[in-house]
């Protein structure tokens, strides 16, 4: 018996800002930064959006594709590094908003950008062990970069939800493997507004080491090479890292293109690889094989080998696709972006 994906849904806010807008304010060549990162724009959440609203929209999009009784979802986990509450889980709001409450378990996860993939693995365990019929795993973020920092050009907002189970699978997860170490490449201390990072240390010893090592483990476990896959999607902190590691592993642009959304919407952190996976599932055909390799700073990688099934033709894939959401873009200037992102010190409301 395999566990796998029963349904999926994503959400990307409409607002965008371009690197040149950010650079202009901080005295940097924003266009050059954008080229260096291979990012043309990043998504920005509206003032009435946060990880909770994004998670709910993604979860509802997933539920809208299939006729699933929400009461059969026994667990909901939301992974993020920008939960609106430090204490009071995003997952409980999602549970109410999709009608899964109250007979179920829930919790929020944190593992930088791989909190969502960790949630998927957890749900696999719960459903394979027959503890629950279905679990829902969500990765969603509205992460911020410090003003003027390199991360400000890429840190964006978005999320995706996956219902995981062992029947009615649109894609089986035939193999999953993880690689985890204590590596301080990027972190945020409790109470700090913005994360910190180790500059170039975030490259070879962090992203590349974990993604590369985990990928080799996955190839070995599955007995495959890059050529065996129709699609590949990686965690995408910028538009350069995933392409470089992908090529190193033997993948071609044509395999990676569909899932490489960072170029248009930036790095949605816990949402990144999952929203990329949604874009792939929007167009995948039965029999397609997908290589998905997440990464979270701190550090670790979760890898998945998926095969799309005939069931994918039975779910509703009309309506808004990830491509549609990427195209539905309203560009902001830095002032409006700063206002929406709470970077302007406001007076405390009187009441």
């Amino acid at each position: 018996m395999s566990a796998g994906i029963v349904t999926y849904g994503g959400y990307i806010p409409r607002f965008r800002i371009r690197p040149r807008e950010i650079g202009a304010v901080w005295g940097a060549d924003g266009e050059a930064m954008g080229r260096g990162l291979n990012i043309k724009a990043k998504s920005v959440p509206g003032p009435d959006e946060d990880v909770i609203t994004i998670s709910v929209e993604a979860a509802r999009a997933a539920m809208a594709r299939v006729d699933l009784d929400p009461a059969d979802i026994g667990a909901i986990y939301v992974g993020s590094e920008s939960h609106p509450y430090a204490v009071k889980p995003t997952a409980t709001v999602v549970a109410e908003a999709i009608g899964a409450a109250p007979v179920m378990t829930a919790a929020d996860f944190e593992f930088a950008c791989k909190a969502g993939t960790a949630a998927i693995q957890t749900c696999m365990g719960l459903t394979l062990s027959k503890m629950y019929k279905y679990g829902m795993a969500i990765g969603s973020d509205t992460s911020q970069g410090a003003p003027g920092d390199a991360l400000e050009y890429s840190a964006s907002a978005g999320g995706a939800a996956f219902v995981v189970g062992t029947d009615r699978l649109i894609a089986t997860i035939d193999h999953t493997v993880s690689y985890t170490t204590d590596t301080p490449d990027f972190w945020r201390r409790e109470g700090q507004r913005y994360p910190s990072h180790g500059g170039r240390f975030t490259g070879e010893p962090a992203y590349f080491k974990h993604v590369g090592s985990c990928a080799q483990l996955l190839f070995k476990r599955a007995g495959t090479t890059a050529e065996d896959y129709d699609y590949a999607v990686f965690h995408q902190p910028n538009g350069k890292f995933p392409v470089r590691v992908g090529k190193q592993l033997g993948f071609k642009d044509s395999q990676m293109d569909t899932g490489l959304l960072v170029r248009d919407i930036g790095n949605t952190y816990s949402g990144a690889i999952l929203v990329g996976l949604c874009a792939i599932l929007d167009e995948a055909d039965p029999g397609d094989r997908i290589f998905a390799m997440g990464y979270g700073s701190g550090a670790g990688s979760d890898g998945f080998d998926l095969t799309v099934t005939d069931e994918i033709r039975k779910i509703r894939r009309d309506g808004r696709t990830i491509k549609d959401m990427v195209k539905d873009a309203v560009f902001l200037d830095y002032a409006t972006y700063a206002k929406y992102r709470g970077k302007i010190a406001m007076r405390e409301a009187a009441a």
Partner: protein, 147 residues
């Protein structure tokens, strides 16, 4: 706003739960104990009913003078929406420029922050509406599904 007061309305604010009169079939939102049409014949006969979340704009205004907690969003569009079930409710229309809003525009419900009790307080969520995109007119949308 007091914590229990908002918590109590979560089913209606998150999931558009109203009532349907078992006597005459009229749908009301928010839920009512007594049907305005049937009066006492409806008591005990009101069933939980979830709105699909699709409808049209009946009228709207663009709010410029806003209470403190809507400071970030002004000017914003306030509208009366008539849902496909014939229910009318008041909400914001978002994801559209105010000058592009029209009476009879098709809209659908989405989940957004309504406000919060200050930076340390509880956050309130609920429905707002956005225009239905052309891609959605035929297919699966993220509106709460009727159960």
């Amino acid at each position: 706003m007091a914590i229990p007061r908002f918590w109590r309305e979560i089913p209606s604010r998150y999931n558009l739960i109203g009532t349907k009169c078992g006597n005459c079939g009229q749908v009301d939102f928010p839920p009512r104990e007594v049907c305005p049409e049937c009066g006492r014949r409806s008591i005990g006969n009101m069933e939980r009913f979830r709105l699909k979340g699709t409808g049209k704009v009946v009228t709207y205004a663009v709010i410029h003078d806003a209470p403190a907690q809507f400071e970030m969003q002004k000017p914003y569009v306030l509208a009366i929406i008539e849902t496909d079930e014939g229910v009318r409710l008041t909400s914001q229309v978002i994801d559209v420029a105010p000058e592009d809003v029209r009476i009879d525009m098709r809209v659908q419900a989405v989940f957004r922050k309504l406000g919060q009790e200050g930076r340390a307080g509880v956050i309130h969520y609920g429905y707002k509406f956005r225009p239905v995109t052309s891609e959605e007119r035929g297919g699966a949308a993220s509106a709460p599904r009727a159960t």
